[in-house]
Amino acid sequence: MKKTLLPLFLCAYSIASAGDVQRHQDPETGLITWKIQEPGLSLQFIQLMPDYVTAIYSARGLPPSLVKTMASYCVFGTIIKNESDAQLSYRVADWRYVTADGKANPIKTKSEWVKEWRDQGVSFRWSILPDDQTFEPGDWSQGFTTIPLPPESLINLKYTWRHQGEDHEGTLQGLQCAPEQAPGS
């Protein structure tokens, strides 16, 4: 009974859902991109495989132990854009990923990653989606969103933003971590 109820709970929780969501699967790689369109805001989450994450951080000269840590996370390329004619802001610390048990978990921020890298003697401070930004019209940004889950994990992602003095919230249902290897390989 509990096993049946949990997915129903997850669906019910996520009924306060995202705006217009488009899901696109790359025909060559099989990897999936979710694009969310909210009034004034667009958000994209792109599956990134562990091998790709490994390549990115190895090329940046991070030590093998840190590269391994990064690649162990579920990583999404994230693009966030202000498509309005007013200021828009976001704060990753307010976002949550919701797991199958219904628990809403905070997302590790760029500051937390940079501190972890610094503590290991690495001064690299880029690649992760900035903690927070205030966008003027036309501004946009990209970076990685990292979730400590294994490949192919399924979550709902709760995201928030502030626009024209009001706070907004949406939930992207069924966001899935990339597989270990490209489908079909």
């Binding site: 790689t29 946009w140 970076g143």
Partner: protein, 202 residues
């Protein structure tokens, strides 16, 4: 002010005297780094909006080196309009806007306008290999901010971020995210900042 004639071409001539094998390896690394990103990230179109700051801010002073180790100081550009572009080779929108930056540089060649592209965290070798893959050859200075301290002093949170500094050394415009910089509206913004430069001779 020193004449700034150095660019990628001059650096390339020097590098061609160095090991060709090393250059080929670096080029392969650059391609491998670029290709997966290009395949996986569908990027927004490049718009052209620049936001005017409601209160201009003094641009922090800095000194950074280019590929040849030559020092560039922002204060040497006082009296000119300067576009500061913070970028990295692994940043797809950074790569996309380089051709428009070069076109803008050519548009205002000979006028009191300069572009300084400030690379974040990467090595000269890596950037050099990357430059060889571009469809255009940048002729504006590429400077290196290896510890990202200059970016931090300017409050840069994401790449690319572009700032326009006026003749008095104040930040007057900002853009976060890739842009088409050779758009007529961007040119107009720069022209509007230039007449003061033309009106006052040293």
């Amino acid at each position: 002010m020193k004449a700034r004639c150095k660019g990628f071409s001059a650096h390339l001539n020097r590098r061609q005297a160095a090991s060709g094998r090393k250059l080929r390896l670096l080029s392969i690394i650059a391609l491998l780094t670029m290709a997966p990103v290009a395949a996986q990230l569908p990027l927004p179109e490049l718009s052209h909006e620049l936001t005017r700051l409601s209160e201009p801010i003094d641009a922090p002073a800095f000194q950074l080196k280019d590929m040849d180790g030559e020092q560039y100081a922002l204060e040497d550009y006082r009296g000119k309009v300067v576009m500061l572009n913070f970028w990295a080779t692994w940043c797809p929108p950074c790569r996309r806007e380089i051709p428009s930056m070069e076109a803008l540089h050519q548009t205002f060649k000979g006028q009191a306008f300069a572009i300084l592209a400030i690379n974040e965290w990467e090595t000269e070798d890596h950037v050099f290999a990357f430059m060889g893959q571009l469809p255009v050859e940048p002729t504006f200075p590429i400077l290196f901010d290896p510890d990202s301290e200059v970016a931090q002093s300017f409050g840069v949170k994401g790449l690319p971020t572009t700032l326009l500094v006026d003749r008095q050394g104040k930040i007057v415009y900002r853009a976060v995210g890739g842009r088409d910089f050779n758009h007529p509206e961007v040119q107009e913004i720069i022209r509007a900042l230039l007449p003061e430069a033309r009106g006052q001779k040293k």
